[in-house]
Amino acid sequence: MIEVRHMKKNFGELEVLRDVNVHIHPGEVVCVIGPSGSGKSTFLRCINQLETATSGEVLYHGENILDKKYDIRKFREEVGMVFQRFNLFPLKTVLENVMLAPVLTKHKSKEEAKRLAMELLEKVGLETKADAYPAMLSGGQQQRVAIARALAMQPQALLFDEPTSALDPELVGDVLNVMRDLAKEGMTMIVVTHEMGFAKEVADRVIFMADGYVVEEGKPSEVLENPKEERTKTFLSRFLTA
């Protein structure tokens, strides 16, 4: 469904992605783990072109979306993103946050968008907060709104960029539960995360990235419990003792 080929990304002299090749299949949940600075977030952001990859290809249903002729908005309408810092629109209510994109991209009329938004807010457990403003919500609630906002575009896949890293520990669970439900419903997801428990339980595949490369990938039981590469072992052991 999404195939990344030979992706490279330099920030000036700094090579953040050196040669990344990843193939995501429909319905698959892929967790990307690795030390900070390994390029995980950049990898995600180069897929929907919040950053422009220096070279390489991203094939979406066989079409290279990094091609200048491709209208990236089409891809972004179909593949949503959830950010570490939620990035809700502060002057809009929860409901308006969720309704905005479907209405503006003309996928839905106002009434339809509202009905869908309320449904999605119910799904993430926040239907009572529809008229609240983001600043009135906890981090975990904001992130669930952000997920509802991404779902309002009825995406084919979702990209999660460390969705629980900015949350207080006791709020992480609610967000992970929502993501777990999405995975069960068959949503295609790429999740950059430090939540090893979540990766172990929900991921179909785990990708370990370091120094701009995919060092190791496979089933969670393989990568997380019996890593082959030395680099993966060191990372995971630090993680467990931390």
Binding site: R73, R76, E77, M81, N87, L91, L104, T105, A146, R149
Partner: protein, 214 residues
């Protein structure tokens, strides 16, 4: 002070006040348009246009508005061989001057919006234009508002300086009347009260708008 005084000063001042209002309102409105365009350019990547915009702001900030008025009224017409009416020059000067200062305010407000908001908007499939209109401008406007109102107030008061280029706005009319009638105390008192009242209206309006926007 007698009835006759008020019968002469008030109509004179009133015509001056009308002109003050007209120049201030039209000048500031054009200034807002200039500032919106320039403020947008300043925070964008249009390198060459940016140099021109920066030069314009530099010149306006580095010269007194009175000198700007004298220059546009007495020098530029000679250079380009065109004559402008004093009132037109007044509007141009207020527009160019307020436009430059408001450009900086608008640039600052646009830059203060968290880039994450824009990323969230475009990652939902919004165009850059839609992102600007629906996601960036509303909070930026809220941030810019106190600075913009401050400039409105300064610009209304700056119209008084246009008396040097013979614009018959309120201050110029008052000066004329005071010189003819030797009634300096009541004339300038009425003038001062006039400015106090309209600026107070602006200040109250600002508080009301800010409260309304929460």
């Amino acid at each position: 002070m007698n009835i006759q005084f008020y019968q002469t000063i008030l109509p004179m001042l009133f015509s001056g006040i009308k002109l003050t209002f007209m120049i201030a309102i039209i000048g500031i409105l054009i200034g807002i348009v200039i500032a919106s365009l320039c403020g947008f350019v300043l925070q964008s990547n249009f390198k060459i246009i940016k140099i021109f915009v920066e030069a314009y702001i530099w010149v306006i900030r580095a010269t007194p508005i009175m000198v700007q008025a004298l220059y546009v009224y007495y020098v530029i017409p000679k250079l380009i061989g065109l004559d402008f009416k004093a009132n037109t020059v007044g509007i141009i000067v207020i527009a160019l001057n307020s436009g430059a200062f408001m450009s900086e305010i608008i640039k600052g407000a646009l830059l203060s919006i968290d880039p994450g908001q824009k990323e969230a908007a475009v990652s939902l499939g919004l165009s850059n234009f839609q992102t600007m209109i629906h996601v960036v401008i509303p909070p930026a406007f809220k941030i810019a508002l106190p600075g913009l109102f401050n400039q409105f107030i300064i610009s209304v008061k700056d119209t008084a300086l246009l008396s040097v280029i013979t614009v018959n706005e309120a201050t110029h009319q008052a000066q004329n009347y005071a010189a003819l009638s030797f009634q300096a105390i009541p004339t300038y008192t009425v003038l001062a009260v006039f400015y106090l009242v309209i600026i107070s209206v602006l200040i109250i309006l600002q508080k009301w708008v800010e409260k309304k926007m929460g």
